[in-house]
């Protein structure tokens, strides 16, 4: 199995190597990088290219590690007991398998995406150490032992909001997705918009990288923003000339700049540049 660029997703060589190494050695792959550089998309594309199901576990600030294993719904069991339901006698009726359980018992070796692990509590990764390492866990309520049939391909993404504990990191492979250079970026754009004019793409990329280079932006636009912006340019039928001639803000700036202060900053700089020219 070799993972490589597909018709809808461009993957850098080093990332492909990272994915292949993680798949071969059955280690979780931890991906970090700026928002919008395709961390989550990678898991989707990987699952698609292997033709296996993708299980996505979206982590929130309130997510507990236990929820990934299973949840015991004691409340509905108590309620049922008052209503005299027969289900009450079998505790397994009230145990809901979580994403890890589903991944462990899937018929086919699935891709398990643990998305934005840094959003959770600081102890969250530590609670998953054993489960990710041994790929098994114990269900206390029923005394069952859940062991993975085959080790799922685990992809973990992080936006670096919290530092992850060392013990957890040691069990993962780590790859930092660097922001793509202009050549890779134009490949990516061409995958999404095959018939975009060469000239328009060139000009748009220039504008885009200029914006990224500005100091003090609250949120630098990234690949996904660029793609949205190009889509708008295409829909509105804005030509490269128009893009170049635009005074002040670029057309459809809302897709690139997500922050009011950023908009003001770019406007101010454009104004100053214009004054210097005249």
């Amino acid at each position: 199995m070799q993972f490589s660029s597909t018709s809808s997703y461009i993957v850098a060589d080093e990332l492909a190597l990272a994915v292949n190494a993680a798949v071969t050695l059955e280690k979780p792959l931890l991906l970090k990088g700026e928002p919008g550089t395709g961390k989550t998309k990678l898991a989707e594309e990987l699952a698609a290219s292997l033709g296996v199901p993708l299980l996505r576990w979206q982590i929130k600030s309130t997510t507990k590690a236990q929820q990934g294993l299973y949840e015991y719904d004691a409340v509905s069991r108590l309620r049922d007991s008052q209503l005299g339901s027969d289900k009450v006698h079998d505790i397994s009726n009230y145990i809901k398998p979580g994403k890890l359980w589903q991944a462990f018992t899937a018929a086919q070796r699935p891709v398990l995406l643990i998305d934005e692990i840094d959003k959770a509590d600081i102890e969250f990764p530590n609670d998953l150490l054993h489960e990710l390492d041994q790929m098994e866990f114990h269900v206390y309520e029923t005394g069952e032992q859940i062991t993975a049939q085959q080790r799922p391909i685990v992809v973990i993404t992080s936006n670096n909001e919290k530092e992850l504990p060392d013990a957890f990191l040691r069990r993962c492979f780590f790859h930092y997705i660097n922001f793509p250079d202009a050549a890779t970026l134009s490949d990516i754009v061409r995958v999404h918009y095959p018939d975009i004019q060469r000239e328009l793409l060139q000009t748009a990329l220039e504008v885009f990288f200029d914006v990224r280079k500005l100091p003090n932006l609250k949120k630098k636009p990234s690949t996904s923003e660029l793609i949205d912006w190009l889509k708008l340019l295409l829909v509105e039928d804005i030509g490269p000339q128009q893009l170049r001639d635009s005074k002040g803000l670029m057309p459809m700036f809302g897709a690139l700049l997500k922050n009011e202060q950023d908009v003001q900053l770019v406007e101010k700089l454009a104004f100053m540049a214009r004054r210097r020219e005249s």
Binding site: I122, D166, F174
Partner: protein, 399 residues
Amino acid sequence: MLIEFFFCLRKHGLKTSITELLDLLAALEQQVVFADIEAFYFLARLTLVKDESQFDRFDRAFAEYFEGVEQVDLASAIPEDWLRRSLQRQLSDEDKAKLQALGGLDELLKAFQERLKEQQERHAGGNKWIGTGGTSPFGAYGFHPEGIRIGQEGSNARRAVKVWDKREFRDLDTEGELNNRTMQLALRKLRKFARTGSAEELDLDETIRATSQKAGLLDLKWRPERHNAVKVLLLFDVGGSMDDFIYECQQLFAAARSEFKHLEFYYFHNCVYEEVWQSNERRFSEKTPTRELINKYGRDYKLIFVGDATMGPYEIAYPGGSVEHWNEEPGQVWMRRLLNHFDNAVWLNPQPLEHWKWHHSIDMMHELMGGRMYPMTLDGISGAITTLLRKSAATAPVS
């Protein structure tokens, strides 16, 4: 296998463990990569380094190990014959021909060594990474013969720089050696929990009471989950005498950042005056009036100063005492304003406790803080945190 490489990484301060080395070896055994140094570089980085801020160290270690470059410092004249011999070994006939066009090997070596000397004179503590200018014949990595770009045009210019020599991750290595767990543990004391937010946890006692009141009909009661509600405002002293302590301060800062939900930090120099700033690079263009701190952050924020308080006494006591600018009001006025606004404040001082008595300014600051100055040791931090959590901390004496 690769044991030397492993120790080379450890020498450069990477905390690589044996299990990770075994992972790398397993990957090699599975032939994930084969006979490709660049792919090996990525594979080794993937398995051995777990933080992008460590990538730069890894790049340097990798270069040292695989280029056989000794980490010599400063005016180390490179033995000329060493250079010459390896140059001759490395260069193809074609390259040598091009070299002749540039004035021959001797010329180039001479220029190279001159350049090297020049560079060291300019940057004190300069290291082996010679310039990145595109026009120099020594390219991005002129130290090693392989890095000398011969002839700027042509596609071979790109080949001259190895991936690890680009050192793309240099900017990420600002944090240095961080993640001190003991520091984090000390700070954890500061994580005072307060119940805020929505009902989420089952309140068992309340549920039993409510259920028995309804004659056994289940009535569930919930209570809010615990959230970290401590808000912290950190003011850091930078520059000047603080340079010696930057390392400890960074440690504290890195530990602090992951511990708190609300953590704001600003910089000042020596003493707080009418302005503070958030980014050191743009400290002269982007300042925040200290008045704004008082207006913006509620009195429930815990105020922590970090600084060595080592300065001239006039920097605290007199208008115009600042070493950098003309301050209309003396530093102590601003200190008092801050201390009057924030209920809880401490000063952490990285100067060793036994040195305090030698600096008059530390005495003055200690007094301004109402005795709430602590050394930046684990004990000191614990003490400071206990003070911060006290309900009614002593207000600064007004004198």
